[in-house]
């Protein structure tokens, strides 16, 4: 038994190392066992659908403790991890294990709700509900890029868009980007594709390169070509290259997507400018965004009002507008135990907190949290 435990630890160490080399994340799931450390708390198990709970329990009862090592599951990849798995493993541990796989926004609540931050080597969707939100969506995406650039200073950024979106929402303005996000004009590359297919091709080609710090793909509406397959291709390339690919969807529906994270961004009224004598009435201060989590690996909902600080290139959360959607946990950053009964698939009832976006806005919440 001791030998097998040592061997198992070795195997896990090796797997972790392989995963680190591959840039993916090993997710160790411990099957529930009476008395074993890390077993699921009672109320969590009671929340599991009976089918899953039985399946997990039965082999252990039938064959005894020798089967434990067989019931340890190693999960790789971010997209395949389902919500219940993350809830059971505990988000705090996950965040520690994979600190370098995520881009931390610097807002604790948002990072926690996203399960550690925005995945770096992945496709992330940022939605704007209307084309007139394009400024806010672009601004939020660029602030994320600005965070990426902290580590990858000087690497260029590619912005791919269809001719339609650049005409409808305006062309990115290099002077504004420099002032607000510290992105040098020489670092920027734009690609204007006449058709959607061309834009997807350019983005795919760019996503497989490591020479770009980040690639932004901007699409308007909900074209049929931008389906699960297309997003999966983009996601796979971004994963292989280890670079973020931000898909900006202006005025698009919440279609099925392979992206692990979907954020819905709109503009929020800016705070007044700060002066020595206090806030200047009637002035328009730093850019502010309202961010809704449409889809994430943890499936925790949330709405955040973020403010971008162009001097320090960092986000700040604005307290007075925020609606506490995730119930505050009594034990710091880990909200999971406090969120009530833990279910395999989040039911509608568990989202009864105030200010919750309606289901029509977030169809992604309806189904189980699988890839896409």
């Amino acid at each position: 038994m001791a030998m097998s435990a040592v061997a198992r630890d070795t195997v896990f160490a090796l797997r972790r190392q392989i995963a680190k080399i591959e840039g993916t994340l090993p997710e160790r799931l411990q099957a529930p066992m009476a008395g074993a450390p890390g077993a699921i708390p009672g109320e969590a198990r009671s929340g599991l659908p009976s089918g899953i709970a039985e399946k997990l329990n039965r082999p252990g009862d039938a064959t005894g403790p020798d089967m434990t090592r067989d019931r340890t599951i190693v999960r790789r990849g971010l997209a395949v991890a389902s919500a219940d798995a993350f809830l059971r493993t505990g988000i705090g541990r996950l965040a520690v294990a994979s600190a370098d796989a995520f881009l931390r926004t610097g807002i604790g609540r948002l990072d926690t709700a996203l399960g550690g931050g925005l995945p770096k080597a992945a496709l992330s969707e940022i939605h704007g509900l209307e084309t007139r939100d394009a400024g806010a969506v672009a601004g939020f995406a660029l602030s994320l890029v600005s965070l990426v650039l902290r580590e990858k200073q000087g690497l260029p950024i590619l912005w791919v868009g269809t001719a339609e979106i650049f005409h409808e929402a305006g062309f990115p303005y290099a002077r504004g980007l420099h002032a607000l996000f510290g992105i040098e004009p020489g670092q920027l590359l734009f690609s204007e594709a006449p058709k959607l297919l061309d834009a997807l091709w350019i983005a795919e080609e760019a996503a497989r390169m490591t020479a770009f710090a980040a690639v932004i793909l901007e699409i308007r509406g909900s074209p049929r070509r931008l389906d699960l397959t297309a997003t999966r291709r983009l996601h796979a390339r971004a994963q292989n290259a280890g670079r973020p690919l931000l898909l900006l969807r202006q005025a698009g529906e919440a279609d099925p997507t392979a992206a692990p994270v979907r954020l819905i961004v709109s503009a929020a009224p800016a705070a007044s400018r700060e002066t020595v004598a206090g806030p200047l009435a009637g002035s328009i201060g730093r850019p502010a965004f309202k961010v809704d989590i449409g889809k994430s690996r943890t499936a925790l909902p949330g709405q955040f009002t973020l403010e971008w600080n162009p001097n320090e290139h960092a986000f700040a959360e604005r307290a007075e507008n925020s609606v506490a959607v995730v119930p505050a946990s009594g034990r710091g950053a880990d909200p999971a135990p406090a969120s009530g009964a833990v279910l395999a698939f989040p039911s509608v009832a568990s989202f009864a907190a105030g200010g919750q976006p309606s289901r029509q806005q977030h169809p992604a919440h309806r189904g189980p949290r699988r890839a896409g």
């Binding site: 400024g135 290099a174 504004g176 040098e184 590359l189 734009f190 020479a211 770009f212 965004f289």
Partner: protein, 496 residues
């Protein structure tokens, strides 16, 4: 029979053998010809189509020599110096050209000589003759004056003084000839005899390097063409290495069996000689052109030419072998996108010193943009492109409309103030807060003298009731004059 309009009369421009047998001649009026033979078939001449056909033939002749020039309306000059041995000698080459043209349905005459003038005369007055060096005089002497490529007026006046053959002109003293008939006559004569060099100006610039492959079996499939391109590129690489250069523009010429020629060019942002990369560029280009290339019965000659070259700097790799030259990657990426989607597919912003927002940033195609300096090895911070001019730089939007969009402003609180609400793209926006104005005047130093001064713009930062921020401007000022039109408002950008 082909007619053309000359001096308000329809005249015969060209005719075939059967018409000639009916004793019809060039220049004869169509009315006369019809009176003689009412059954003749007359077609209107189309000079444009003739020229296109001749250009097509010139393209096809490119397979024999890169130096092909169009001569007048019905001739082609091929400078075959140094090319004949590739086709088995002068005689074999001329025979092949004539046979090939005949198979394509053309009645062609050819002459080969060591001067363009002699070859011109041989082709027109002998047909299928090869003039050895030194025989030009013997060739030209018995020929009429039109063999000297001189203007008809000169020819007429020469004939009026009794000089009716080229030989007679050659025998006459040169000084009086030059005095009376001008220098052109003697120039043409000297050129034909090889005393003066005559340059044939080729239609297309001659590629510094080209490699080609003649195929016994014509290829049709794009994959096969791509494979050939990579083989040719391998052959090209050694030449480029020897010269210490890399290709900046490459052209792929596909000669179809029936005479059509496809010319596919790709440009590179930095000198390139790697066959794999060249093949990838052509892969994108061929994919993009797949619909427009008609392989027909296949291509029997594929040529890869380097149209322009640049010095190739060798970069030292490090010992681990995994130097990631990001700039080279990006240049290749941009080239591939460019090859598929055109020159303007990858754009780079360039900052221009200007107050006008739309002029302050120029987007240029990637290949024309100044190369970004690679960050230093220590990943030092990049130097700022523009020094901060003021302590509080004016706020600029993240997105700018390419052309400002007119908006309707029903009312402003004070005449020179921001709007209270506005209508943009048929939707009404209520202004919650506004900052401004920032007055930006037109650049008088760019305006032409006498031109009316462009109105100033007053820019406002606007936040609407839903928190979106816009950049509006009012063009011009309110005027007390009754007839003056009220100033117009425009939407110019969107803030984050």
């Amino acid at each position: 029979m082909v007619s053309h309009r000359d001096n308000n009369t329809q005249r015969i421009a060209a005719l075939d053998e059967r018409a000639e047998a009916l004793k019809l001649k060039r220049g004869m009026g169509i009315a006369d010809a019809r009176a003689m033979h009412p059954t003749i078939d007359v077609v209107e001449a189309d000079a444009e189509a003739d020229r296109r056909l001749l250009e097509g033939l010139a393209d096809w002749c490119d397979r024999y020599t890169p130096l092909v020039a169009i001569d007048g309306e019905d001739g082609l000059f091929l400078d075959v110096t140094g090319c004949t041995h590739l086709f088995g000698g002068e005689r074999a080459m001329q025979d092949e050209i004539l046979t090939r043209f005949f198979q394509q349905g053309f009645d062609v005459r050819a002459g080969l000589a060591s001067t363009p003038g002699a070859a011109w005369a041989a082709a027109r007055f002998h047909g299928d003759r090869i003039v050895a060096g030194g025989e030009e005089e013997a060739l030209l002497a018995p020929l009429p004056l039109s063999a000297l490529r001189i203007a008809p007026q000169t020819r007429a006046s020469l004939e009026s003084v009794g000089l009716r053959t080229a030989g007679a002109v050659m025998a006459a003293p040169r000084a009086p000839l030059a005095r009376r008939f001008g220098a052109t006559l003697l120039l043409r004569l000297d050129q034909a005899l090889g005393r003066l060099d005559e340059a044939v100006s080729p239609r297309l610039p001659v590629a510094p390097l080209s490699v080609e492959r003649h195929l016994a079996e014509p290829v049709v499939l794009t994959d096969d063409i791509e494979r050939l391109v990579s083989r040719l590129a391998i052959a090209l690489k050694t030449d480029l290495e020897r010269r210490g250069e890399g290709a900046r523009t490459l052209a792929l010429l596909l000669f179809r069996v029936d005479g059509a020629v496809n010319r596919i060019a790709v440009g590179t942002s930095r000198p390139m000689r790697e066959p794999r990369l060249i093949q990838r560029l052509f892969h994108e280009r061929l994919t993009a052109l797949e619909q427009s290339i008609d392989a027909g019965f296949g291509f029997d000659l594929v040529r890869l030419s380097v149209l322009s070259v640049a010095a190739f700097d060798l970069a030292q790799g490090d010992l681990t072998g995994d130097t990631d030259d990001d700039d080279a990657d990006i240049a290749l990426f941009a080239d591939r996108v460019r090859a598929r989607l055109g020159e303007a597919a990858v754009l780079k912003p360039v900052v221009v010193e200007s107050h006008l927002p739309e002029r302050a940033v120029k987007t240029v195609p990637f290949a024309e943009a100044p190369q970004r300096r690679a960050p230093a090895a220590g990943r030092a911070a990049l130097p700022r492109t523009t020094p901060p001019m003021t302590i509080y730089p004016p706020e600029r939007p993240v997105r700018l409309f390419r052309s400002p969009e007119p908006i309707e402003v029903p009312a402003t609180e004070i005449p020179e103030g921001p709007p209270m609400n506005f209508r943009w793209r048929r939707a009404l926006y209520r202004v919650a807060r506004a900052e401004g104005p920032e007055r930006i005047a037109a650049e008088w130093w760019r305006q032409l003298p006498g031109e009316e001064e462009a109105p100033t713009r007053d820019y406002y930062r606007i936040e609407d009731s839903e928190g979106r921020r816009y950049w509006l401007y009012r063009q011009g000022l309110y005027s007390s004059a009754a007839q003056a039109a009220p100033p117009r408002w425009f939407m110019h950008g969107v803030f984050a």
